[in-house]
Amino acid sequence: MHINIFVVIIILTVFYMATVKRITSLINGFLVQSLFISLYVFSEGVLTKNMELYSVAFILFLLKVIVIPLTLRQLVKNIKADENAGLLISPVISLIFAAILAGFSYEFADKIMPLQGKHLIGAFSISLFITLVGMFLMIFRKKAISQIIGLLVMENGLFLLAAEAAGGLPFFIEITIFFDILVSVMILGVFVYRINSLFTHIDTNKLTRLKG
């Protein structure tokens, strides 16, 4: 896998999303990230002359750059949630956290793939880094929508790993995974609407009625 300009931008978007305060900029960050992943896959397809990668890149672009951000913006508008993404810890600390995670995933990748040669370590550590930051986003954000976006970022990380390391899962599986993600975003949206109507807020931190 060759570290090219697209992967660098993807890592930057991750850091951007870790620090940002408002939901709309969070959605934009996710949009940019998916855009560059699809570009990266497209460039991968061009390099390896593999027709499938073109269609995968196109569907990824269609889904993750256009449809999902649109639904999320629609969601934010309908429930008139306030703009703040509900950060539990200040942006500076979350930045430090993201850095630590990057260091950890690099050191860890080195440990598990010593004999496969240098080029793969980069791919594996980056995708692990993105997944962990995705989880980090879910842990340290109060608002339901930021948790959905955290989930989507994790899936982006997975997709990047699949594209780089294994040259993409079998075509049919990739497509079904995309539609699966779309369905889960739809259902999560339904639940956000219900939470908003029942609890008049979408702050998951306050959802603590079921204890013990």
Partner: protein, 505 residues
């Protein structure tokens, strides 16, 4: 061929129940459909175990003894659940808790969930396995949030978020598995293909990949540090659904873990996976014991006891040898006993209108039929001999003592004793004792064919109907409870032995 039939019927049921308006025909169609599915599964088991072979069709579907075994469990629990939900939903309709459209939606989702679970155990392609499990999570989340109340929505939200996170990690593991396969030149992601090239796979990657798989599907199976969604989801879902959740969904996740464990065992060796299983099994047992002791709600207590039994199954798998036979037997026993207990709990909660165990008293006086079966089920759950759970726990212990891991067996016995004490303490308080004086609970429990209950002067509020569908499914499960009690009958032990062979490959 039968696989198509099974999936076809369930899909057909899912679609058709959207259109039938009259509730009676709707429930009748569903019950008959599921009985048909159960009979096909039974036929399938008969000829699979006849010659021990496995069928695979155009490299997408694959059914070997292991998947048939799980299919059997899913079939039985689905049938019991559908029979119970007939009277459950009709009772809700009568008390107009839900509209008739919602009832149709309930059956659609129920059959969709059944379809997804059947898909999980039948599919050969590991990616498709992931997608099927993702589907079960999404559909069951909608079912958990069925009653649009604050608690159930919160439970559904937690359920869907935590399980999605878990499943994404599992996808991470699947991709690593696929990557390891591509290193050796294979391109297909089918399980059969993995088994063929398992010895050539790089052990280092498989170790990491199995870790991710274990944590991923472990969240879905309710292993302790990842179990947090389970008590909320099970206690807030409607009873037939929590029965499905406990009986079937946890087992499908265990099925997935077993599939991947077989591959890792071939390349990395037994020790790696059994250590993981033992550690997390004991952890689940211990923490669940702690929770059961201080529980106040009857359904949450049953949910935690599911965590405990998942822990026992893991320990069984960890001991390997005869332990695998015990773990599989325990899967069946637990599925049946837990669904049986959820049915009883459902009846009690519906009668007392609350799940809080400090208020419920004198169940044996208000619901004599459910009461007796419930206290017997409580003893079964605790692991007393005449019932089946003791038999499987005893087999697992035999395996434990055979490979001389005395400490693990000691801890195992200690936790089992605590849980037995806690369960009996809680349930004997609610079953016996004087029923609440102001018990205006004149409402009868769910029923299909009502038989007028004679008013007993001593207990005026004794409203229970012997022939209601709920009681029919209670009896249906109780027979299984007793059947495996003392000696595992011939054909069942043959099925278990064959499945154990598959795992020990």
């Amino acid at each position: 061929m039968e696989i198509f039939l099974i999936l076809g019927i369930t899909a057909f049921l899912a679609i058709i129940s959207f259109f039938i308006k009259n509730y009676k025909t709707l429930s009748l169609v569903n019950v008959l459909g599921h009985l048909a599915v159960l009979s096909i599964v039974a036929k399938l088991t008969a000829d699979i175990y006849g010659n021990g072979a496995s069928i695979s069709m155009f490299n997408f579907f694959y059914a070997d003894p292991l998947s048939i075994f799980f299919m059997l469990i899913i079939g039985i629990i689905n049938t019991a659940s559908i029979i119970y939900s007939v009277s459950y939903i009709s009772n809700d309709l009568k008390e107009n808790v839900i509209s008739s459209a919602k009832a149709n939606l309930y059956y659609v989702l129920f059959n969709a969930l059944a379809l997804a679970t059947f898909l999980v155990v039948v599919v050969d392609n590991l990616g498709m396995l992931w997608i099927a499990i993702e589907l079960t999570t999404l559909i069951s989340a909608l079912l958990v949030g069925f009653y649009n109340k604050k608690n159930s929505i919160e439970a559904a939200w937690k359920y869907i978020i935590i399980c999605s996170v878990g499943i994404t990690i599992a996808l991470f593991g699947t991709i690593l598995f696929y990557y390891a396969a591509t290193l050796t030149g294979a391109t297909s992601i089918n399980w059969t293909n993995f088994i063929a090239i398992a010895t050539k796979l790089d052990p280092q990657i498989l170790k990491v990949a199995f870790l991710f798989i274990f944590v991923g599907y472990g969240t879905k199976a309710g292993i302790v540090p990842l179990h947090t969604w389970l008590p909320d989801a099970h206690s807030q879902a409607p009873t037939p659904i929590s029965m499905l959740l406990s009986g079937v969904l946890l087992k499908t996740a265990i099925y997935a873990i077993i599939r991947f464990a077989i591959i890792t065992n071939k390349s990395v060796g037994i020790q790696y996976s059994s250590n993981l299983f033992l550690l997390f099994g004991l952890l689940s047992l211990g923490i669940a014991a702690g929770f059961i002791l201080v529980q106040k709600d009857i359904k949450r207590l049953l949910a935690y006891s599911s965590i405990e039994h998942i822990g026992i199954i893991l320990i069984g798998l960890g001991f390997s040898g005869i332990g695998i036979y015990g773990a599989l037997l325990h899967t069946v026993n637990h599925a049946i006993t837990k669904s049986f207990m959820f049915l009883g709990a459902g009846n009690i909660v519906k009668k007392y209108k609350t799940g809080n165990m400090n208020i419920i008293r004198g169940v044996i006086n208000l619901l004599p039929f459910t009461g007796t079966l419930f206290i017997l089920g409580a003893f079964a759950l605790g692991g007393t001999p005449p019932f089946s759970i003791f038999l499987s726990e005893f087999t697992i212990l035999m395996a434990g003592f055979q490979n001389k891991s005395y400490l693990t067996c000691g801890l195992f016995l200690f936790f089992i004793a605590i849980i037995f004490g806690a369960i009996i303490h809680h349930f004997s308080k609610i079953i016996f004792g004087k029923e609440p004086a102001d018990s205006k609970f004149r409402g009868d429990e769910p029923r299909l064919l009502t038989v007028k209950p004679e008013i007993n002067p001593e207990h005026p509020n004794r409203g229970e109907d012997f022939f209601s569908a709920g009681s029919v499914s209670l009896m249906f499960l109780f027979i299984f409870l007793i059947a495996f009690g003392i000696i595992v009958p011939g054909f069942a032990s043959k099925i278990l032995l064959l499945t154990a062979e598959v795992i020990k490959q």
